[in-house]
Every structure is written in C-alpha cells, then in structure tokens.
Subunit: 338 residues, 4 copies
Amino acid sequence: MIVTLRNSLSAHAENIFIESLKHLQAQYLRKKLYGKDLILIFNSDTQAIAKALSDNPSVERIDYSGKQYRLASSAWKPERTVIDIKGVKIGAGDVVTIAGPCSVESEEQIFSIAKMLSELGVQFIRGGAYKPRTSPYSFQGLGREGLRLIKSAADAYNLRVVTEIIDSSMIDEISEYADILQVGSRNMQNFFFLKQLGKVNKPILLKRGMYARIDEWLMAAEYILSEGNEEVILCERGIRTFDTSVRNTFDLAAIPLIHKLSHLPILADPSHGTGDRSLVPQMGLASVAAGADGVIVEVHPDPSRALSDGAQSLYPEQFREMYSGMKRVGEAIGRKVV
Amino acid sequence: MIVTLRNSLSAHAENIFIESLKHLQAQYLRKKLYGKDLILIFNSDTQAIAKALSDNPSVERIDYSGKQYRLASSAWKPERTVIDIKGVKIGAGDVVTIAGPCSVESEEQIFSIAKMLSELGVQFIRGGAYKPRTSPYSFQGLGREGLRLIKSAADAYNLRVVTEIIDSSMIDEISEYADILQVGSRNMQNFFFLKQLGKVNKPILLKRGMYARIDEWLMAAEYILSEGNEEVILCERGIRTFDTSVRNTFDLAAIPLIHKLSHLPILADPSHGTGDRSLVPQMGLASVAAGADGVIVEVHPDPSRALSDGAQSLYPEQFREMYSGMKRVGEAIGRKVV
Amino acid sequence: MIVTLRNSLSAHAENIFIESLKHLQAQYLRKKLYGKDLILIFNSDTQAIAKALSDNPSVERIDYSGKQYRLASSAWKPERTVIDIKGVKIGAGDVVTIAGPCSVESEEQIFSIAKMLSELGVQFIRGGAYKPRTSPYSFQGLGREGLRLIKSAADAYNLRVVTEIIDSSMIDEISEYADILQVGSRNMQNFFFLKQLGKVNKPILLKRGMYARIDEWLMAAEYILSEGNEEVILCERGIRTFDTSVRNTFDLAAIPLIHKLSHLPILADPSHGTGDRSLVPQMGLASVAAGADGVIVEVHPDPSRALSDGAQSLYPEQFREMYSGMKRVGEAIGRKVV
Amino acid sequence: MIVTLRNSLSAHAENIFIESLKHLQAQYLRKKLYGKDLILIFNSDTQAIAKALSDNPSVERIDYSGKQYRLASSAWKPERTVIDIKGVKIGAGDVVTIAGPCSVESEEQIFSIAKMLSELGVQFIRGGAYKPRTSPYSFQGLGREGLRLIKSAADAYNLRVVTEIIDSSMIDEISEYADILQVGSRNMQNFFFLKQLGKVNKPILLKRGMYARIDEWLMAAEYILSEGNEEVILCERGIRTFDTSVRNTFDLAAIPLIHKLSHLPILADPSHGTGDRSLVPQMGLASVAAGADGVIVEVHPDPSRALSDGAQSLYPEQFREMYSGMKRVGEAIGRKVV
C-alpha cells in the first residue's frame, strides 16, 4: 500500500499525521519525497489501516497495488532512470557493453579478457564467482578467490565489475568487490532476498526469470525499489518455451515493452538468450537495434575449455567483430555503443 | 525415404533400375537431378523396399529421414536458395519489404496503401481475402472480391501480391491473383494441404506454426519441397509462450538459426510477432539487424477502423519512419533494404 | 453474429422479418429453433446489418460474440449434449472406452485387436488410415485399404469405428466407413475444414490443438456447431509445454473445466497425453476419476513393431488390466465404464 | 562427483584412501554407506581429483553426474523411501491428506480448520506464516505469530504441521514449529538455500518449480540429498504453460513418472495445480487414481474472505465431500486414504 500525502501539507501537519499512525499500530516501511509527492510505503495491505486513513484530510491518495507495480512504472516516474557507475551512465542514451566469462576460472583467464576489453574501450567486465548450477555436482565457482581475481583484473584495466550474488548472507562480501550486483534468473522471485537487496547501496542487475511475465518482473523490481534502492537495471536473458532448438527463447520485444511500461534501464543478454555462440553476434546487433540500454555477453579466451556455458561463449575474435557491428548499428539509430 | 543413385550411372543402368522398382511394387514420388545427384523420393518408409534397394549396385545412399528434413537442409544444398519474383530476388542479399493491411477491406483502402508503398519504393503488397479467424463470427474476408481488389491495386502501382491461401480447393483461384501464396501459422502442419502446394508453380510463404519447433517447421517445408516445389520462403511470426504481455513471443533468433540449418530464405513478421504496433518499429529494425531476408509488416490507412488486427497495424506515418530506419540499419550491416 | 427473435413472434411477423433481410443484402447462415428461441446465425459481423437490426421490433437480442463461443457454451444450452452412436450414448453418464492401434497396419493386426475389444465388452475401435505425420518420409497410412480393414473388423465384432479425417475432400470416403470422424490436433484451427464438417451428418471428435487455449478449442467447436452439426465430442490429448520429459503435458483439469463451460461431452486420451505407455494406465484411471465421458487409448498387438506411436501403445495385457481398473474407479464415483 | 569404493575394502584400506585425499587437497562432502556401497560425495567436479582417483585400486566407480541426479534416482535406490512423521508414514502405501488454509490468518480460523480435520481423521494441517507474494504490497503472512498459532491448533487436535520456509535464516525458527518444511515453487532452484536444507534434521517438502522439467526437479532434490538429508518429499503443484484458462496446468502424469524415475514419495496439490476451487475436487480424486502418495489441498472456513488464494480454497463442505470421494477411489486402487 502506498499512501500519498497532500502537497500542501505543512511539516507540522505531517508530524501529526505520522503520530496518528502510531495509534493505528501502522508502521510504514519508508517515507520519501517523489518529485512533489510525499509518500509512505507500507509493506502489506492492512485493510483496517487503509480504511482509517481514507478519511484523513492529509491523505491525497491510497494505492493498493495488490496486483500492480507502482514505483517501477513510467506512470509513477515519467523520466528515465539513469544509473552512474564510476562515471559511466546506464540509461542516459549510450549503449553500454558488459563482457566476460561465465565463471572466473583463473588469473590468466580473467586478466586476458580484461586486457582485450580495455583495448577495445569496453568499460564493464562480468564473471561469476558463486554459480547457481542445476546439478550439485557441477562446478560451483571459485568463491571469494574468484571475486578477488575479477576485482584485480578490473582494477588493473580500469573496468567496472558485474558479478552474481546468490544469497543475502553474501551481501557484504560481494559488495566489497562488485560495482553492480547481479541477481540471476532463478532468484528473480526470491522475495526475501530481493527485500535485502533493497537496502543495499549498490545497483542491482535484475535478470528476468526464465518463466516470468513482464508484470511479475516489474513487481520483483518493485520489491527492491520499495525498500529504498532505486538503482535497478533490468536484463532480458531469454525465457523458457516449448522450443528446444535453442537453450532459451530470446524475447527481444521485451526491450521496447519495458521502455513503454517503466523508467528503468534494460539490458539484453544474447548469450543466455540463445545459448548458442553461432547465434549471439546477430542477436547482439539486433539488441542494439531494438533499443537496449546495454548488452551483456559471454566471451572466453578458449570456450571449448570453459568450466561453464562454453557453448554460448564467444571466441575473442567473434566478440571484437560483434562489438564493431554493434557500434555501426548504434550509429544507424543515433546511439553510441560504449 | 530418399534414394540417391550413383553419379556414374549410365542412362541405361538408370532405366534398368527404374524398371526393377516395378517388381518391388515401389512407386517413387519424384525423380530429380540435384546438382550431380540423381535422387528418387519415396513418400513413405517402406522398409521392405529399402532392404531390397540397399544391395542394389546402382544405389549410392539411402536416407530414411524419418525424423529429419533433408531437402530443406543446408547439408543437402549448401548454396542459398534465391527466389525471383518478377525481377525482385528474395534470398540474394537485399532485404525485401512486404507491407499492407491484414485484410483487404475496400478499393479505397487498398489503393491508398498501394500508392504509399509505390512512392516509397516498396515492391510487395500484402492483404488477406480469405481470413482464418479464431471465431466463426469474426470478419472472414471479402473472398474473391478481395483478391480482385488487391490485384488491381498491385497492377496500378507495379507491386507484387502476397496473399493467404487456406484450402487446397482455392489453389487455382488464388494463383490467378497472387505472386506468392502465403500459408498461415495454423495451417503449417496441415500436411495434406502442404502436399498440394508442393505441386503448385508459385512460391510459397510458409509461416511458422505458433507452436512449431524449428525442426518441425523445416519438415513442413520438406513436405512442399519433396513434391517438387522448390520455392519455399519461411517466415518467423512469433510463437506462443506463457507470457501474455504480448500477443506472441517474437523468436528473432530463429533468423540466424534457420540460416545455419537451411538454404531457404527467411522473413520476419514483427506485426504478428508482437501484436502491438508500439513495439513493431523497433522489432522491424531488429529483424534487419538479425539478418532477415525480408520484413513483412501490417500497415493500414486507419488502424482504429481495421476489421482485423487493428492493434498491430502501423499508421502510414509510422511505417514510413520504420522503413527509413530499416534502410539505415541495413546499410550498417552491408545490406540494401528494398 | 447471432440474432435471437422474440418468442412471441408470429409466423407472419417472422416471414416479414426474413424478407426485410433481403433488402439489407444480409444472408443468414442458418435459422434454428433452440429451445423456445428462434435464432439466425450470420457467419460474419456485418456491422451495418447489426445496426439496422438493432431497432427492429422482432429482434430480441444480438450477440456479436467476436471473441466468444456461444452455441458451445453451457449458458446457451444448460442440459448436456448426448450423442447416440448405434445405441451407445456418449455424454449420458456412462464412460465409453475407445481403443485400437494408432494406424491400421494389416488385417491380422486390426482383427486381433477387434477380437480382444469385443471379448472385453468395449464398443468402439479406433485406428488411422490417413495419418498426419511430422515428416513426409514417415508412414502415411494405408489409405482406403485401411478404412476397409477397420470397417470389416468392426462389423465382424460389432464395434463402432472412429478414424481420422485430414481433408475436406475425404468427407464422403471416410463417412462411408466411420461412425465418428476424428479431427486431429494439428487441424483444430483449420477453419475452412471445420466449416465443411459442420455440414456433415456424422459426429465429430474434435481433438484439442496441442497449442490451443480452452476458449479457442470451444470456438473451433463453434465453427462446426454454427454450420448445423450439433454432434461434437471434444477430446483432451495433451498440450505442448516446456517440459520435454514426456511427449505432451496431459491437461486433465480440462475435463472438469469443459464440463463447467460447455454442454459438449469430453473424452481423455492418455496415450497422446503422455506419449509413454508406462504412464498410460495410471492416467487412464485418473481420467475416469476426473469425470471424463470417455477414454480413448492406443493398444497394439505388438507395440515394438508398430509403424507409428509404438512408444505410447499399450500391450494387450496392459490394456486389459487398465480397463478393469477403470471400471473399479468408475464404480467409486458412481459411473459405469463401458 | 560421487566416488564408490570397492565393497571388499577393509577398514584399514579405507583409512589409507581417505588419507590420500588430503594429499590431493580433496575434501569430500559426505561419506555414507548406501546398501553395500561406501560412497563419498564431492560437491563439485574437480577434474584433477577425478583423474587421480580413477587409477586408485580402492575406487570401484566414479559418477560425474554433471547433468544427472544420482541419489534421487531409482537406479541408485530401488526400494521406495518411506518418511515417518510422528507415526504416520509417507511413501509406504497409504495416501496421506494435508489440508488447511493458504495463510494462517487468525486463531479462530486455524482452530476451526484443525477441528474439522481432526474430526475427519486427517493427520496433517498446512498453513503459511511467511508468504512469498508476487507483489510487495500483498499480505506477507503473520510471521512468527502465525507459526505459533498453527502449532497450537495442531497440538490441540493432534495434527502434524506443514509450513513454508522462505530463507535459510529462518531454519531454526520454522523447525521449532513445523514437522515438515515446505519449499515453494519459486525457491526450487535457490541452490544455496537447498544446500542449507540438506543439513536440517526435518523432512523437506519440495514443490516443483512452475517452470521446472522433471530432471531439474530431481536435481534440486539431489542438492538436499547430497548434503545428507534423505527425507525429501516431492510435490506436483502445476506448471506454467500458454494456457491462461486456469492459473497453472496440473501435470498429473508427473506422479507416475516420478515413481518410475525416483524412490522419493510424491504428493499432488490440486489447489495450486488448478487455481480454481470448482476444479479441485475432481482433480483431488484424479490425484489418488494417478497414484499420488498424498494430496495437499487448501481449505478455508470462508474462502471469500481469505487474505490469499481465496479462489482456489475449498469450502469446508466441499473438502469433506472430496475427502470422502478420495477414500472411495483409494479403495478402488487398493490404497487407504488417511
């Protein structure tokens, strides 16, 4: 429930109102000025409180929103959200590129990729240290050592780090090494976790659940936003459908659809989106043409030896060629690819 | 079953072989020279015949293909199929544009669209006269009058006609008016119908079934090819998934995937692919970037009054802008959009 | 568009009304007394006509129904439709069993099955003569010879014949041999074909499209009903989902859902529903428990040698055991399995 | 990686082997006697270790299992797993019933349901205290107070408690009140969480992810089993498909399929499976007929006022009738419903 107070409310009236909530035993989650609106966010629909508040002269509007996202909507905030990460802006017009291996595997591997990215002018490196794997017997990542390695490589080559977080207990650890915390597809509706991420002071890259409708995805973002973290970046990474010709079905139309419904920036991930490196370059170009605010892609010095996602990782040479094509398509639609 | 005879076979040896089939009571469907290979296509896997043929010295190879397409594969024919329609080539490098209303509704409507297309340099007009509708009470098309109108408009403005055929009994009628016969998504596995279309001397535009895997789609094409019609154009038009945010999920990765698996040209239909005109322009651009051999799109003089598919039809002004964007994206990837 | 005339209308007033339609150039498809309602069914939504009729004092109600089924709904006809096939009633309470091979393959095969069915007291035999196969190189059925064989076996053992029809051109041929004409999953939205079947004087078994929502399925039934054939039997046969563990996902909840929405009888097909004979017996029992009006199942004298669908065909012994279990479950819910 | 040591290995040889692992810096996760096999479970595929072990004479077999479940398979353990919960056995033949409201809402509500269940002879009560909700503004559950209430009601009426756990940080809290810890559909692939649950001394009810294939579900179970908790109960609760006629598609064929692939007991949840109370009773009966080891169902004293899942909750009277029908169907297949 979101309660919007009247614009004209004096500080005194506001205090009286806040006091009155105590009598109702109503604890609001967050008080915030959104443009000219002062809003109070309650974490659950307490109908008794809503009833009591509905007659309060200080209250302008109550949004129950039980089945809808509010803070994530473009109706709520018409201007686009821009997220600044050490001087690089996501959502401001330029198309950012984020590249790197699925998993951090060794110092040699991650430094080799970091060097290539730096030479090309790419500003973000990705790589997993904690890997959510379908089988308990698959490689689960290097853990903290992986975080240390990707951070060293990023520092050496002036890159920003994107890495996955898989449990709330890791928030401090991952935040020490990463510039953007990535939430994977299988955690998109892990609501307890999302609430913790709403209290973190780092941007969250929220991948779409492979089974999530667009409204469910935006409500997952709403969980983070409603706890106070406004820096949410969405990422389309393919959905699960009947067609097993490819690993996932890349729902590229989600890019313009999110731009219509929400103010949040959205990236495209053609690597998971297709699961097949022979399809990634064309879909990388198509992602730019569809209007994505960024492209996140897997590249590995030697995909055939990758410990995870080898089939969808680009060879360095493929990446260079795709990146150059993305720049040309960006120009064709008036956007700079960085 | 496809039987390939030895290259070195003399005409005499070939005749003897053909005669021997009579003793086996084996009727082949088609005999054809594919490059240097002389092949015989049998419509069903008669195991007894296969056994008898397997020892025949004239036979080089027997492909059972029970679960695979053969004639549609790039393994069978490495060079890309090019289809010439009154001087415009599909599959030869240029990206063709096919535009027009969902249904032909009136002389004024179809001539107005034809005029606009002609002025822009578009070479194909589309429009349905027989409409497959989910409800029996929805508008079912103008029938032969619709065919007459679209043909008149096309002739007046030097355009080629693409229109849908929904039953074998209409083959002669539709062929009289159309340059390309379109098979809709719901008929993609109407095998009896596909066989009839395999005997027609017109190119067939085979839309992907909304529920069809890539291999099933190529096997549907195989039905047409195996009856002798080699001019099949595929068209990705969105698949049905759990996500109801849009009408269909536009599976754009099917474009590079088909180019990898098959020699047949493939178009993209962002109108049905999304079902929402606000998403069509970006997906039109993305279709070109993904490497489509053409884009087929719905445009209507007044979408709000369209008798079918109004929500996904572009306004003429939107179409002009998208077409111009498609040309720029085409240049960025080295292809001319016509 | 369905126009319902006032109950009180005299024959004279009715004639005047019908005459008036000529002035509007409005041809109705069918005139029929439904209970006390006299209705006129028009095949398309001609808005001009609707407008003219809306003020006509003889008209009680106009249903546009562009997105809904009408004649197939339980709102339209609260009592359940019962279909009598040579003395066996479908939809009247008893649960009918229809069994037999996927394809008719030989005289020996079909007579062997017919004998077993007859001994058990089963009243219907199934078997395909014209097979819609994904690949053009798979066995396509014995054609008319298959029809002849199944009819002979049925006549010899006093069974009723259910067989598939795949094109309108076969209506006369199939009707000569079959008691129920089956429309396969891939033809469920072949609307031209459905209209032809609406003019046939045989019950139609309409299998659910593997991609069809419940409302689309009922609208497919509506195509047949609106042309005058009221004997439609629905059949749930599994839908296509992301899960490839089984051939199809058997949507058994469709049974009570159809009973809620429609008056038409509905069968369950656990063979196609699962695609795996080891799962068929339990799902056959579950079909009865869920309230199906009948169960259609594949059984073959030697499934390992079947020319089609071997993996999902029961061994005769398995069928006997399942049939006996179905009878016990039927008793538990107060229905007789025949 | 699972390493099986030779049966004939002496205690001494075993000790030498275990010591040798230290030199390889290989830490095994768990050592366990499975029947006659002594196995060592390693949490990840360390290829170097596998290589070293492959020549060790004490090793009989190494299972890499990167893409397969092992401990959950019926190949690994042919006899069925039976889980005893305060004297009631799940998986031993009887069909258990678990019923109660979606959320614990008040003392009155939960005691009223507990009383009814007790009078009928039902042994398990369900009810959520921590609710994973799609929207952050929906009712999120009563938390610890809810746990306290359901435990009191269960104690008063001699019932066992099943309730959902949504984060590892709650393990101690929930374990204090619950007899079975339920993992919801959206957490089925929250692997970090699953590992923690593998160390818990309580049975885990693992609901199927709405997007999970059968093999992925069994691999999720494998995460728990491989950490040492062998008491995993699976629960089919519907999957997400294209069909929006119902909330989920109830994949009842998963019941016999799991029984074929695994030794773990499996329940059916017709409430989430359909999302519509008018379909639940028939699907409850069908669940028993399909061979489920138990049925879990939502029932509420006044569904129209439920704070969550009202549409799929049964009225008490409906539940009574369904329960009695389930007993009759159970008898028909030779199983007792408790």
